[in-house]
């Protein structure tokens, strides 16, 4: 027992010394950035990518001396793709002392948490919350395209590249992301000479059997099926199409990203699937190459666009902090006000392109697409 006490006091002394040392280095101030995303659950691939991608950026910035000499403290929380849990995660991060939020990763959670950030006037930058309503409040900005922009960009991409004239769409009518993309796709399709021959939906309660939807596409003889949905259902659809012997082209949005990492997914099913995404890991520019190498070294997988969005989000915050001259002793609300103005004045060249922002939180950048070849994403020409 006595030895225990001795050991304990030693440990405490040691801890205090270390604490003082680190305090001496950073003068006890640091920008506290929190991130939220699903680390478990149906969209675990997204959240893991966001939280790891941001970590890479934070590590790089800290290693290079921080933001104007001030280090970043960073912490990621799991929300399991659940709105309530996302708010819990936000509260946990606030208790920890978060000043700026990167996240949440998915649209639904982003909208839910934006109610809280609005009330607290906390600056929120979602890397990948793409639903239109994510940026309803003036304190919320995003890195990715909004759903309306993705739907429009997809139709334009299919039209301009002559991929198909007659298409079928299978979308999730119970999901804001999916129906948001579909609405603008449908709006833009006629302008691109695309005929939507089959328009089929499913709901969250009925998302395992797609035989009817696929059979209708087959009967109508569509050249391409557009899937503005998430990868879990897309994987099921591809497998059921293979079981039916249905041959067609597939085109999706960023929701399909992550499909290749699903447990026991037969990668040949996804061969030739095209998706609109702002990031391709095989791109040859130095920034992408370095990021991919660092990410692979740290996590042993190739990063997807969610990781890239989060990486860009952290660098965007750095640029905005520098522009606005924010310091760590400012209140959360003051930081938010300063960053809001700075966001519209900065231009960030990141992994997902060169981005500028409008005051309503929307990014402006060029769309890119990738195709899955031999189980990997390859940039489309």
């Amino acid at each position: 027992m006595k030895r225990m006490k001795q050991f304990a006091s030693l440990a405490i002394t040691a801890a205090m010394t270390v604490g003082m040392l680190s305090a001496a280095v950073s003068a006890d101030d640091a920008f506290k950035i929190g991130a939220i995303g699903p680390l478990t659950g149906a969209a675990a691939n997204y959240g893991t990518a966001v939280i790891n991608g941001a970590q890479i950026a934070v590590d790089e910035i800290n290693a290079a001396g921080g933001i104007g000499g001030v280090q970043i403290e960073y912490r990621g929380e799991d929300d399991e793709l659940d709105n309530e849990k996302s708010i819990n995660a936000y509260n946990t991060l606030k208790d920890w002392g978060m000043q700026i939020l990167v996240g949440p990763t998915t649209s639904g959670c982003s909208i839910a948490v934006s109610e809280k950030t609005k009330a607290d006037n906390m600056f929120q930058l979602t890397p990948s919350g793409s639903a239109k309503d994510c940026t309803n409040y003036d304190n919320v900005f995003r890195v990715c395209f909004s759903d309306p922009n993705q739907g429009r960009a997809s139709a334009r991409y299919i039209g301009e590249h002559g991929l198909a004239k007659k298409v079928g769409v299978i979308y999730d009518s119970s999901d804001v992301y999916s129906s948001g993309i579909f609405a603008t796709f449908k709006e833009e399709a006629p302008n691109q000479g695309i005929e939507i021959a089959v328009e089929e939906a499913f709901t969250a309660d009925n998302n395992v059997d797609f035989s009817s939807q696929l059979q209708k596409c087959a009967d109508a003889g569509v050249e391409l099926i557009f899937l503005p949905i998430y990868y879990t259902q897309a994987g099921t659809i591809l497998q059921q199409a293979a079981m039916m012997g249905l041959q067609t082209k597939w085109f999706g949005c960023d929701g399909l990203d992550g499909m290749l990492d699903m447990d026991n997914f037969q990668k040949e099913l996804a061969e030739g699937v095209m998706l609109l995404t702002p990031f391709a890991a095989d791109a040859e520019d130095e920034l992408t190459q370095n990021f991919v190498a660092a990410y692979k070294a740290a996590y042993n997988v190739t990063p997807n666009q969610f990781a890239a969005d989060a990486y860009d989000a952290v660098y965007t915050i750095k640029a905005a902090i520098e522009k606005a001259g924010v310091t760590t002793d400012m209140s959360i609300s003051d930081i938010c006000e300063a960053l809001k103005t700075a966001m519209t004045e900065i231009e960030v060249t990141g992994l997902t392109g060169t981005i500028v922002w409008t005051a309503d939180g929307e990014p402006d950048k060029d769309p890119k697409a990738v195709v899955i070849e031999d189980g990997a994403y390859v940039s489309m020409q």
Binding site: A42, F202, Q215, T232, G235, A242, M262, D263, Q266
Partner: protein, 295 residues
Amino acid sequence: MVSFLNYLINGLSLGSIYAIIAIGYTMVYGIAKMLNFAHGDVIMVGAYIAFSVITTAKLPPVLGVLAAVFGCMLIGICVEKIAYKPLRHAGSSLAVLITAIGVSYFLQNIALLVFSSNPKMFTPIIPMNMMTIQLGAFRIQTISLVSIAVSILLVLLLVLFINKTRPGQAMLACSQDRGAASLMGISVNGTISLTFAIGSAMAGIAGVLLCSAYPTLSPYTGAMPGIKAFVAAVFGGIGSIPGAMIGGLLLGVIEILGKTYISSQLSDAIVFAVLIVVLLVKPTGLMGRQVQEKV
């Protein structure tokens, strides 16, 4: 016409899976007079067992199916002994119902812990090159035919078992009057255990068929089919095995045809609307018997 036949077969295939699950509900209800809401989750456990054997341990699919059947049987018996039996004389059927819902969440959360909630793609038990059968312009998925054949075979076996064997007769006796059956020297506890064993074994088969046809496996895989199968059992007349079969098949066909010809978003609404209409017209379900209360 060709595509109508395709839709019909898809519906029958989905329906036959509902039927196999519904039989489990109906048997347990007929004999133990309880709604086993954990039944849907036993299907999910069966599918995970098959997945572990076939995909993780890389053993032949036959072993996977057998493991699922025996694994589910074991779980069914354990759940009955541990969770339901002590409550059998509790007086309130509500207590058992709530326990069943508890068991359902328990199984889901265990699966979450063990397998995580990341969905897994189930390896179909049918080889890739035998996925479809071509008959002229008509193309059918092999798994659909397998599902339909298996469900018909299971119902036939079950009917034979109940009518021709002594344990089957004991089940019949228990379903009619548990007290009298006990007085005649039938072990009521043993018979109820047997019922759970058979129902759960069928859930294991249903799990493999379900995930072969709709290959995404997650801890919530069994929940919705479980509810639909319960509806099928009520639809056909709960307590009746042929009723569960017909209820399941009809439900599957209505769901798929509703999805195809009316609206893919409203298919569930259509299914439940049909249920309400049937129950309004015939409150005991299609094949249910009206038991007179003797005063």
